[in-house]
Amino acid sequence: MTRLNVNPTRQELRRLRERLKTSVRGHKLLKDKTDEMIRQFCILIRENKRLREEVEADLAGALKNFSAAKAVMDERALEEAFLLPAASVTLTCGEKSVMSVAVPDIEVHEETRGNAPYAYASVSSEVDGSVAALAAVLPKLVRLASVEKTCNLLAGEIERTKRRVNALEYVMIPQYEETIRYIVMKLDENERGATTRLMKVKEMLAAERER
């Protein structure tokens, strides 16, 4: 590992030791953060998969019914039937924080009206079924949306944090340690040099006095 290009002085040494301490602490914190994020992510991604499988199955059923209905009905009649929605769903979009990652938190409010807003006589029965099925799947779809987005965001954040942990662990911290060692060696060497010089001078002085 390369050492940093710094002057081997006591001041520099103190500064580097401080930075090393901060890096080690930061490394530990970030590592803990990734561990927790991965735990949460594992839970969420399982839920995500389950929800998606459910939604895909339900939706496929509903849409199949619907296209069957469309085949037997006039398109304009169908469009007219759907001018007013049978159920309306409103969302309340908030944000919550998972390990300080802002993720969406969506609430669904359903308002079902008792009767379909079209005359039963004018549409085929497949439509009734598929509309009911769709209305049932919609809250799940919204839930899926929020879970999937959360997974998405967490995945990005985990990746980023991991990179930082690795940078600290394999680059920054070894670099600081190496540089600190270098400075300590250099300072010790200087000290030894000064001591021997003093001893030498003393010897010379003593020799001169004797003469």
């Binding site: 991604i45 895909e56 939706l59 929605p85 159920a87 769903v89 969506i106 919204v142 949306a145 995945a155």
Partner: protein, 110 residues
């Protein structure tokens, strides 16, 4: 406060959503869908469902919405081309985060 959601896709697949009160926007090609998404994001739609085939084609474009909590652009199946894309992106996320596949490995073994 209520927030809006929308569905974008080819008219045949998404028309049914109109019945349950979701705003439906038809888009036949990827270019059209792209414009529509930009527009909807500007109009503050929070949740946008996109049919899988379009989502697959617009993967690169959707990257820009990935880093913020909203808007959430979510692929939904439409029965046509691109089926399984959503699962694929789920898998990609997982590999990005943990570096290993923990959900689908059993399935592949079989």
């Amino acid at each position: 406060m209520s927030d809006k959601m929308a569905v974008i896709g080819d008219k045949d697949s998404v028309f049914a959503f109109k019945a349950v009160g979701v705003a439906v926007f038809g888009a036949s090609g990827e270019g059209e869908a792209k414009e529509k998404i930009k527009e909807l994001v500007k109009e503050n739609y929070k949740v946008i469902f996109l049919t899988e085939d379009l989502a697959q084609k617009l993967d690169g474009f959707l990257e820009r919405y990935r880093s913020a909590p909203y808007p959430a652009v979510i692929p939904v199946p439409c029965g046509g081309a691109g089926a399984g894309f959503a699962m694929e992106s789920l898998k990609r996320d997982m590999e990005r985060a943990i570096g290993a596949d923990i959900l689908f490995k059993d399935k592949d073994k079989k």
